[in-house]
């Protein structure tokens, strides 16, 4: 099912949790709602599920306006951050519950519940109570309960945040698999950009209730819409050199050289800008002429991750581990075309070529 939101707004008194958000989400995709804590992800999800009434704007499921429908009429499955399994019911009863409410016959609901229990690999635990399950198992029960009613939309609110690192990775692959198998349009809330990148087809990145960018996961990395996106996505964090745009290049604060790259940015002379570059977009060729000083270096797989100083800023790049690097060395670098962006320092807007 396709989901569309139009000018979606939620205010809690003075606080605007979600601000006039308009977007269209393709059917059958896994969409990550990503952003720092308090940016309105849960609020967004709760409005989609119908738990929270919207302040302004509309929500459409396919062509249908569902803005005023209560949760029980929206046919969504929701997995809460702490699962919210009914403590007085067994695993089987928990999964059956949505069907029981729909008055599905007992035999049929047990059959369907078992089918989904199998899909999420919890069929051995059907007679246990939630308190007798591990966090990961509880989560899978919650997913089965959300899926058993064949929802048109699956919503997951930071479902992995309670798990240890190993289980997290396992479970996110599991969610990916379950989503593919069921083909249900899925929203997945997380504040971990790595998790979002690993699992999703699309990412919607939010900040203070505003959508920053909604795009294919790759594109957030390759084509960030603004400095916030560039900064939030990617590990290590994107390099940021603040300076002035002058004479067709960037003069970094605290440094005298003018850095020229092969981009043709449309920038006014004298603008305050931020030159952002991915670590892998830094080159160390012989003809490179941007002078830097080595501050630190760590071995990172077959490469060395070097931390370089340029003016008052630091910059990281990957250099072939066979090259001898000493702290304090002078090292010339260059910038590739891809993975290098220029932003307005004040607004964070990106300059395009």
């Amino acid at each position: 099912m396709r989901v569309k939101v139009k000018n979606l707004t939620k205010r809690f008194g003075e606080v605007t949790a979600v601000n006039s958000l308009t977007a269209e989400f393709e059917s059958g995709k896994l969409i990550a709602l990503l952003g720092p804590s308090g940016c309105g992800k849960t609020t967004m999800l709760n409005m989609l599920s119908g738990i929270l009434p919207v302040t302004e704007g509309q929500i459409f499921f396919d062509e249908k306006d569902v803005t005023d429908l209560t949760p029980d009429k929206r046919e969504v499955g929701l997995v809460f951050q702490n699962y919210a399994l009914y403590p007085h019911m067994t695993v089987l009863e928990n999964i059956c519950f949505p069907l029981k409410i729909k008055k599905v016959s007992k035999a049929e609901r047990i059959e369907r519940a078992k089918e989904f229990a199998k899909m999420v690999h919890i069929e051995e635990y059907l007679n246990r109570k939630p308190k007798e399950l591990s966090g990961g198992q509880q989560q899978r029960v919650a997913i089965a309960r959300a899926l058993v009613k064949n929802p048109k939309l699956l919503l997951l609110d930071e479902p992995l945040s309670n798990l240890d690192a190993k289980l997290r990775v396992e479970m996110r692959e599991e969610i990916r698999r379950i989503q593919r198998e069921s083909g249900v349009t899925t929203f997945f809330v997380t504040h971990d950009q790595e998790e979002a990148s690993a699992i999703s087809d699309y990412i919607m990145l939010m900040k203070l209730g505003e959508m920053q960018q909604y795009d294919k996961t790759r594109n957030l990395y390759n084509q960030p819409a603004n400095l916030f996106v560039a900064d939030f996505i990617g590990s290590p964090t994107i390099n940021q050199l603040h300076g002035v745009y002058t004479k067709g290049g960037i003069k970094v604060d605290g440094d005298n050289q003018i850095i020229k790259t092969n981009h043709k940015w449309q920038v006014e002379e004298g603008s305050r800008v931020v030159l952002a570059s991915r670590a892998e977009a830094i080159t160390f060729n012989d003809k490179d002429d941007v002078k830097t000083k080595v501050v630190e270096s760590y071995l990172s797989g077959k490469d060395t991750l070097v931390n370089l100083k340029i003016g008052s800023y630091n910059l990281r790049g990957y250099i072939d581990a066979t090259k001898p690097i000493k702290i304090g060395d002078n090292l010339n670098i260059g910038f590739k075309t891809e993975g290098v962006f220029l932003f307005d320092e004040l607004t964070g807007e990106r300059y395009y070529e």
């Binding site: 949760p71 919210a84 519950f97 309960r145």
Partner: protein, 307 residues
């Protein structure tokens, strides 16, 4: 996953010596003394008296040990009737007051703004003197002028002589009993309701549940531990029904001496007939009945330990 975890039992790692024992012991002494004098001693004394044959209070003499008192009260039809009456009263009052209280508590719990007002309102019966309340209820039940009969007349029901017709006296007593039980019950249930994590309601709504589904599938089962607790406390207190009876019927056990309860029987044996042996034996019998109910209740309760 619940935020309400069982309280853990901690053991102090301090060694117990005469010195570390003495100080807390002194603090506890007044309380322990009180219990010993007013609870423990009377209890054992009552047990003892119940086995003393021909016990005389005035001279504190008895002819020997035996089961005479028990034989006597169990062959007394009034006592048997008292047990039946009391059990009836307990079952009716406890169950009806629970059902009403659950409904009221759930309603109150969903309208936060009213809670302050209601908390005062339903605390009133708990803090008002029972003599005054008895008087008021005598008026409410009044044959000619009582508001209950007025309400019934609105539905074209003939006036009922609540207090003077033996046929209706049990009903009157139960109405009063239910009413007096509501405040305490509602407060405990409200506390229980407030312990239920609201996310279960949200989850159920998303699962498609309507208000009524939520009530029966989520609220009641999650409230079951509290319901069980309240049921047992109410059961114990209503097995001891006496004040209500005494007040409503002007010191008589029902208009035609038809409404003996165990405590009324005990009271009569003790104060009016000075048969301490019979009084003690009936107290022990009541104790045994309450103990039995409590044990059964506890057994059932174990099933509802979810967290």
């Amino acid at each position: 996953m619940s935020k309400f975890k069982r309280v853990k039992k901690y053991k102090s790692d301090e060694k117990v010596t005469a010195k570390t024992f003495l100080k807390p012991a002194i603090y506890l002494l007044p309380f322990i003394l009180g219990i010993l004098v007013f609870t423990v001693y009377p209890f054992f004394n009552a047990v003892a008296i119940s086995f003393k044959e021909d016990y005389k209070v005035i001279s504190d003499t008895f002819s020997g040990w035996g089961l005479g008192n028990y034989q006597k009260i169990f062959s007394d039809p009034t006592f048997i009737k008292a047990i039946i009456n009391t059990t009836q009263y307990v079952l009716v009052v406890v169950s009806i007051s629970l059902v009403i209280s659950i409904l009221i508590a759930v309603m109150l719990n969903s309208v936060e703004k009213l809670q302050g007002l209601f908390q005062t309102a339903y605390f009133m019966p708990m803090v008002t003197s029972s003599a005054a309340i008895g008087l008021v209820w005598r008026w409410l039940f009044n044959y000619d002028y009582g508001i209950l009969n007025y309400l019934l007349s609105l539905f074209d029901v003939d006036a009922i002589n609540f207090l003077n017709n033996p046929q209706y006296s049990m009903i009157s007593l139960c109405i009063y009993g239910v009413w007096s039980m509501l405040p305490f019950t509602i407060i405990l249930l409200l506390a229980g309701l407030q312990n239920i994590d609201p996310q279960y309601y949200t989850a159920a709504k998303v699962d498609g549940a309507k208000t009524i589904d939520i009530f029966f599938n989520i609220t009641v089962p999650l409230l079951a531990p509290t319901i069980g607790l309240v049921a047992i406390v109410n059961m114990i207190s209503s097995f001891k029904v006496f004040d209500a009876l005494y007040m409503l019927f002007g010191g008589k056990p029902g208009p035609a001496y038809n409404l003996y309860t165990v405590i009324f029987y005990l009271y009569e044996q003790f104060y009016t007939k000075l048969k301490l042996g019979y009084a003690a034996a009936s107290a022990i019998v009541l104790f045994a009945i309450i103990l039995l109910f409590t044990m059964v209740q506890n057994r059932i309760q174990k099933k509802y330990d979810y967290y």
